[in-house]
Symmetry: C2
Subunit: 192 residues, 2 copies
DNA sequence: TCGATTTGTTTCGACTCGATACCAAATGCG
DNA sequence: CGCATTTGGTATCGAGTCGAAACAAATCGA
């Protein structure tokens, strides 16, 4: 009666709903919706090439008009500020304020999620691995970018003794840079 | 910098967003939103004790007012019909129409999801298992019902040769019944 | 019997989201 | 160079979700 992927789909759907509900509750005291928290979290984790409205739009999978509204609200609440790019005057960079970081730290991940994790057998590493695979597949199928961490990108170059460089922009990268999400991220060819 | 459960949370969040986006696209030709498809799917999979607005409300984790709206829309579109309960005149049973089943069959799971699954190594059984665990934990933490299939409930009783009974309602159950979701589902004590 | 609880509906307002139109800066091409 | 195209971002509108609260009706319980 059911196809193989069906149960998996239902599971993911329900988990997604649950997280959404928790996120709604977590954001309520700050007057934030789930999408606002997701935006803040992305901005906290992305690198300096990727903290723009356009990149956030791709990450969230929404339209740019919608995201523009979201950003307006977050700016009004003082959780982020906008800064013009020095090279391309169309581009705007989005920077979390201290308040923004504080909200994130308090609200995400929601308390109940953290508690539920402690009941899980094992450390969840295998689960994480499997979900990563699934996400990549889905992103590939949807022509979406992967938004992986810089250091796992095929453009990432090691120059010895903790010095790195991006093969795309040619810019040098610090160790901190190498741990941030990048919109230009391209997965390495298969094989670990 | 990141806690252990953090990456897992991000993964689930992103997968949830992706599924939601696909669901939105899948429902668009029928004028349906993600939540409408989820409601239809639940009604297709649940048993005769659980096809009521109240049960659907618990399943979706929304308020009853919201769900009432959803049901109004689905009824207007001819995807389900309401039927009064014969015993308790407050309760209403929700039954999918043929059109409702047809829409579900065509729209869920979305095409892209199915294609992405084929790229996954293995059959996803392990992933399914792990996600089930996680879902149970989260539901327990949120005081939510599990909505498992009837045959895995602690009230489920085997009476030999394909005959079953629900220890809660005392009613006999067919094999088909035993495979449906039940709002009264209570997990068996741990241990397989 | 009478109040409390449960089931479902209605109404209202805040908010998300996509669509569309629009503007400005950058890019590409003859 | 000059002009069309592309890209980044904003503004406005309408459809729709969602929670909160008030409401009605049936059932349950002391």
């Amino acid at each position: 009666m059911f196809m193989a992927g069906d149960r998996l789909y239902v599971l993911l759907e329900r988990l997604g709903n649950l997280l959404r509900t928790e996120e709604r509750a977590a954001g309520l005291p700050h007057g934030l919706q789930p999408v606002h928290l997701q935006a803040l979290r992305y901005l906290q984790a992305c690198n300096r090439y990727s903290n723009t409205p356009a990149a956030l739009t791709e990450y969230l999978g929404l339209t740019k008009g919608t995201v523009s509204q979201t950003l307006l609200l977050l700016e009004e609440k003082g959780l982020l500020r906008k800064e013009a790019d020095t090279e391309d005057r169309r581009v705007i960079h989005l920077l979390l304020t201290e308040e923004g970081r504080a909200v994130l730290k308090e609200a995400l991940p929601p308390e109940l999620f953290k508690r539920a994790l402690t009941r899980l057998p094992g450390d969840g590493a295998a689960l994480e691995e499997a979900l990563s695979e699934l996400l990549s597949s889905l992103q590939a199928a949807n022509d979406q970018r992967s938004f992986g961490v810089c250091g796992t990108c095929k453009h990432f170059q090691r120059e010895g003794s903790g010095r790195f460089r991006c093969g795309l922009t040619r810019e040098p990268l610090s160790r901190e840079d190498s741990e941030l999400l990048c919109r230009e991220h391209a997965a390495l060819p298969a094989g670990h």
